[in-house]
């Protein structure tokens, strides 16, 4: 790397990290939180004995996972206005990413719930719990541990997917890199630099995942 490349690398690190801090990270965090709540609802619908409820959940999951995120973003931001629904960039992005996370994480949560041994449901019923209380006090806490690794994968994917938000006017990490690249014509360098920052974020996430797993592990059989 020669001097001017190096200078460009250093001078663009600021804006890229700024994009991560003001765009990528809050967008991912908010969307993940909202998406997780949605996913829980969808997972429970999918597990419901009522045919139509689980049918709706199935179709939702299938569409979310079967179509490109780019198109989902496009529809919400550019498509809905033709139905008279005009949503600002940030809320649009949060909606699109949450809907997406909702579909992927729903399957994770469903699998985690199913992985809790049937005997746990029975013990909960036996002591007089209702279905809802058994779910919230007995089943979900145990499902939580099982779903940490796949959910953190979902989160890592989400962090990278937020780069698509630049399409709908949200400025984030990758957009910043593109701007510098457009100015300096050094797209390779800038893209690598962006990758490096994504990687750093993911490494931090992985170590958080590790801590979370150890903490939850304390309460679970070995």
């Amino acid at each position: 790397m020669n001097q001017s490349t190096w200078d460009l690398f250093l001078s663009s690190l600021g804006p890229i990290i700024l994009g991560a801090v003001t765009g990528t990270i809050p967008l991912a965090l908010v969307s993940f939180t909202v998406g997780l709540a949605l996913a829980l609802v969808v997972a429970l619908m999918r597990l419901s004995r009522r045919r139509w409820l689980s049918g709706v959940a199935r179709v939702y999951i299938s569409i979310v996972r079967g179509t490109p995120l780019l198109v989902q973003l496009f529809v919400i931001f550019y498509g809905l206005p033709s139905l008279g629904v005009l949503i600002d960039p940030w809320p649009s992005a949060v909606i699109a990413f949450s809907v997406n996370v909702g579909g992927y994480a729903a399957e994770v949560i469903r699998a985690a719930i199913l992985s809790v041994p049937k005997g746990q449901w029975e013990a909960a019923y036996m002591i007089g719990m209702s279905h809802r209380r058994a779910l919230t006090r007995i089943i979900l806490p145990q499902a939580a541990r099982v779903s940490v690794p796949p959910l953190s994968n979902t989160f890592i994917s989400l962090v990278k997917d937020t780069s698509l938000a630049s399409l709908i006017l949200v400025t984030e990490l990758f957009r910043q890199a593109q701007q510098v690249a457009a100015f300096s014509q050094e797209f390779m360098l800038l893209y690598l630099e962006a990758a490096l920052v994504y990687w750093a974020i993911c490494l931090v996430l992985s170590s958080v995942q590790g801590v979370l797993e150890t903490r939850l592990d304390r309460y679970v059989a070995h």
Binding site: G14, F74, Y78, L86, S166, Q178
Partner: protein, 250 residues
Amino acid sequence: STGGSGQGTTAAAGGDTSLSSVQKAGTLTVGTEGTYRPFSFHGEGSGPLTGFDVEVAQAVAAKLGVKAKFEETQWDGIFAGLEAGRFDVIANQVSITPERTAKYEFSTPYTYSSGVIVVKSDNTSITSFATLAGKTSAQSLTSNWNTLATESGANVQAVEGWAQSVALVEQGRVDATVNDRLTYLDYKKQTGAAGLKVAATTEDQSESAFAFAKGSTKLAGAVDKALAELTSDGTLATISDKYFGADVSQ
């Protein structure tokens, strides 16, 4: 962005509120890429948005008595954004083509430029648009230069933008790329464009203008009027000179 005029394509001639809503809001919302040097880009990469189209749009807004507000998006979303009412106008070197004229309103052109074939300096086989036939050319799908290359019989390889096109020519993976002369000149000014040359230049000029949603005729008319004033008071020539060292607005 709530600054958009919001009437989209639905505005009938009688109910055209395109101009009044801009005036009421006090802002002209402009869609642009922000990554298209030297027309629409960020100074020093991360500085404020600038460029030829940006400055022209600002000057036009000033003439209309409003502020220009820019929304940056990728080319993929730019026309969708216009149709969805996300912005009032696109300022991004939109070339006037028959397909686009059918779907959008255009202002009078504010850029006249020619197309160039850029090849490696040691390339002797391409000397004109006629000799482009059968050669591979890297083109950004959405630009009218793509059409020109195709019509010349080139085997078009689609890429995302100018930077990738040039990289492909430099790496010898394609024979040529056809693009705006202005883009090439800016690239040459910045990087020296070592190892590249212009093999040919078009006879015809291409015309770029502001694009508006269908039916926004009042706004388009007002912009036309503003452009005429900017031409006559020399503002356009000044901006052009700043970026290109020549007047490309005529």
